[in-house]
């Protein structure tokens, strides 16, 4: 499934932040999203995931294809690792969580409550959730925050094997993951302020 985005304009709080953005994400491809803080990377990912409407432009091939991982992982501290994963697996109708546990080395932690995990372990659990969704397009927002070198490697491996199975990934990150993906710098697409005085100009 190819995700194609053309001439997209996205807004944050009613103000356009990125405009005229076009790209394609084909199966097996990884796209690294770069740009300074506050440029709108998170907003872009949220828009693509369908959480907020775009102001203009087309998004094709996104419907029910995207697994989205935000800054927060949606983990419940009073549920165990397995329970957390199993819940998302059944919400997405996949039910098999073993590969996800294996990929992020969570087997030893499986009966621990998520609230007792370290930040890095939580992050691993959050990323393992991507595997149980069974969705082909991964959208990851700063996935490597609080991960150590080992875990970053683990994550990169998981992405690589996902790409190998025909999936694709759009990753907003500032570090080098060692993936041979293309880089999409959104800096040039920064929206220019609209001229004052047009129809809704007074409002933005």
């Amino acid at each position: 499934m190819t995700l194609s985005v053309s001439d997209l304009t996205i807004t944050r709080g009613g103000v356009p932040v990125l405009e005229g953005l076009s790209f394609k994400l084909t199966p097996g491809q990884a796209l690294i999203l770069r740009g300074p803080n506050g440029i709108g990377k998170t907003t872009l990912l949220r828009t693509l995931a369908g959480l907020q409407p775009a102001l203009a432009g087309q998004i094709e091939g996104a419907e029910d294809q995207i697994a989205y991982a935000s800054h927060s992982d949606g983990l419940k501290p009073t549920l165990t690792v397995v329970e957390n994963l199993a819940f998302w697996a059944s919400v997405f109708g996949t039910h098999d969580i073993q590969p996800a546990l294996d990929a992020f080395a969570l087997n030893d932690l499986s009966d621990r409550h998520a609230g007792n995990l370290s930040a890095g372990q939580k992050r691993r659990l959050g990323l393992a959730r991507m595997l149980v969704t069974g969705r082909p397009i991964w959208m990851l927002d700063e996935p490597t925050v609080s991960l150590d070198k080992n875990a970053v490697q683990m994550f990169a491996d998981a992405v690589r094997s996902h790409l190998g199975q025909g999936g694709s990934a759009l990753i907003a990150t500032h570090i080098d993951l060692g993936l041979d993906g293309e880089v999409l710098d959104v800096g040039p697409y920064k929206a220019k302020p609209q001229p004052i005085g047009d129809f809704d100009g007074g409002f933005l």
Partner: protein, 259 residues
């Protein structure tokens, strides 16, 4: 025919342009201010000094010239907010959402006037400032709805989100306000007389028991017209203020963005 209706409808939507709205409302506002002041002054003076006392209620009946118009406007204001909320949800015209926002405090004041004058009227008539009468109770509930609506507007920072959420609240609230009206009627039959101003019997004079006779009716009608005009003037004026406030906000946001 159909064409002309469509053209007229389009002409109405033109006022969704904030600039056009401001220009037009500034032109017509003096007319509304003056006519509403004239109507209210004439109606009140006429009602207070040139109508006889009621044979049962004495001079206390004269508070009707404030009570009935404010009560009518309290309800009509909510209806107006309902319509403008729907327009916002369907057509996304900012002016419409802002008009709803601008109208709410006016509705609160109207509700308070209706409640206060009702209490002042009720004391000599029923011997109590407050009774849990269906009409009084309904107005109290309406007041709570207004409070919640305004509080929600104030609580949310992003203007579009606030407009969306308050619009949905207004829609849902309308249904529940309507339900409450019936629930309250069922719950207590009450002291308050029925709405007797516009009843057929009142106009034809056949209903001798609870009519508002013509002597009282014409000054009352003048007051009602005055209140309607006043309401329109206030809404136009306040909507203009809201539009300017939004513009200032937008300009500040632009400045931050540019910096």
């Amino acid at each position: 025919m159909a064409m002309s209706i469509a053209a007229k409808a389009n002409a109405l939507w033109e006022y969704a342009n904030p600039r056009k709205f401001l220009a037009t409302s500034e032109r017509v506002l003096p007319f509304f201010w003056i006519t509403s002041a004239v109507c209210i002054v004439v109606g009140l003076v006429w009602g207070f000094f040139f109508t006889p006392d009621d044979f049962r209620q004495g001079s206390t009946v004269k508070i009707i010239y404030l009570h009935v118009p404010s009560a009518l406007m309290a309800i009509n204001c909510w209806l107006m907010m309902l319509v403008t909320s729907l327009v916002w949800l369907v057509r996304r015209h900012h002016v419409s959402a802002l008009a709803a926002r601008a109208a709410a405090p006016i509705g609160i004041v109207m509700t308070l006037i209706a409640l206060a004058t009702g209490a002042i009227w009720g004391q000599p008539m029923w011997g109590t400032w407050w009774a849990w009468d269906p009409r009084l109770t309904s107005f109290l509930i309406l007041f709570l709805f207004y409070l919640g609506y305004v509080a929600l507007w104030e609580a949310i920072e992003d203007p579009d989100t606030a407009a969306d959420l308050t619009s949905v609240l207004c829609l849902v609230g309308s249904v529940f306000a309507f339900l409450s009206r019936y629930a309250v009627n069922f719950w207590n039959q009450g002291l308050h007389q029925g709405a007797s101003v516009m009843r057929a019997g009142a106009v034809t004079g056949t209903d001798t028991e609870e009519k508002v006779s013509n002597v009282f009716f014409y000054p009352l009608l003048t007051c009602i017209i005055g209140f309607v005009l006043l309401f329109i003037a206030l809404v136009l004026y306040r909507t203009g203020t809201e539009i300017r406030a939004r513009r200032v906000k937008a300009l500040l946001a632009r400045e931050r963005l540019g910096a």
